[in-house]
Amino acid sequence: MRCFKRFTSPGFVEEGESKSLSRIFFLGQRLSSLLSPGQRLKKQLACLLVLLTPISSFADDAEEEISAYEEMLAEAVEETQPLLELELEFEPTIKVIEHKEVRVMGFQGRLRDEAVEVEVAVRPPKANEPPLEFMKPLYNAEISFVKRVCNPSDQQMKDIIAAVKTAYQTTGEMDDDPNNINFQAGQVRIMGPGNEQLNENPYRRVRRDAKNHLKEQLSDEQYAKYLVEAKQRDDFERGAAIEIVVGLIDDKIPLAEPERSELVRELLDKWDDVDLQSVQNYVYNPEYMPQLPPGVIDKVLTKKQLATWRTLNVTNISFHIGFNNGQNLTLDEEWIQ
């Protein structure tokens, strides 16, 4: 079997760190983003790569999470294998340590007759990293969003603030040591206002934390409303970003109406992780074009258009997340002091 990718995780998994399911899933996505068998495959692979999270420890009261995690693993294997024509060479070795910690020891798989071999590195846990101060306004804004969308009672607001504050306290883990972080080609670097090397998009982090922490604080009806509104917001941001990118492409490569519509459709379908702020960098720097999900451009453009596309400066521009200007424009609602 030929090994075509060998990957060592960039060290963002920390031994002994308590992880939520969504965090584990996020790590799986991070791992999958480093492989490029196609965006659609990536999504499926992401499910499987959940298995690769080497150490996932859960809080003491996380019996439900553990059982959900085990179910998810089983489903991921069942659903992903036929889709990817992937055969597991070895069953992933999952060890439950002291009944609270799940350890995946290793994994090898074959993807379309080629090998994916993954090694996972674990770095020592970060000890009590202080939260990132610039994240506070983002968490406060999210609480303000919940307030407007769900109309919570006073008591609910107190509980929501306490829960979100707990999430905020863990944001120190987003700041990667520049010496440890292992950026890959095609990955957008996101930096904080003090040049912090962030290991995830701050807005996604806040929204994911809110989603995880609000369920307990809101009624089912309120929570469902929050999920709908949050998705509408995400879709709106993604739609804006994709329309901008298609406009930039059209400036360089004239698109007929059907091509334009198909490009929008394809990107909406395949470009989940596009970030609005990242895309806006290309409006200011029109000599560059963003990297698009694999397969989209090849599918939509003609040969002549593709030849032009290949001569464009397609690159991912690193960017600072824009808090500085934004801070003085935020609502005067400082839930987390």
Partner: protein, 254 residues
Amino acid sequence: MRALFVFCLLVVLGSRSAKSQDIQIDINQFDSWIFSNMQSAENARRLLGDRIEMEIDRITFSTPLREDQILKIRFAGKGDIKRFFDDVEDARDEFRKVQAKGEIDQNNINDIYQLAMPLQQRISQGLFGKTSLLKKVAQATVDDQQASEIRARDERLRELKSRAAMMAFLANLGRQVPMTHAQREKFLELMLKNIKISDPANRYVSYLVMFEVSELPRAKLTEIFDTAQMVAINKNRQQGVAMKATLKQMGLIE
């Protein structure tokens, strides 16, 4: 970016000593700065020729062209390419002069790069923009009916870009001033009805939208947003007002 490039270049070219004669750049290296992803002048000529055809396609998306019109537009496009390569030749001459004197060193390498960089930017941004011969000839060649069809399509594209710019503004605003889906939709509708963006393809379009929002009647906004939201939005509108002079200077507003 430029500083980084020069730094990298020096790291690559600089060997054991930092003596100036250690820097060796030939005309091929100079050309590669200009043509970048197009790889060579020859390849660039071919690809730019293809781009003329694509610009002709762009017009035919709006209206069919007669063969004589296509010939004129193609000829004008070739003029743009010639004009570009004339400038490339001038830059090469400058480079050769410095090279012949053996004066390429760490002190002037940035100046040499500056000869190539504007040309690289021109080619990256496209040779067939608003001020190109191709565009001018195309405008002069088409008849009234064709011109009206081109204008109609341009207007549709302008609307799409304007809408995207307004959506981006609104999405960014929503990250600072959280709002519900209904509020977002109402605000977008208000913008679409009341704002006409002069140049939505401009790189500073976000400032243009911010300014235009500052011109919207306050009463319309208070119908959509609550008091706390309005306080934050008004701060944003004040920033938009402050943009007015700059945008005027840039010719983006009257």
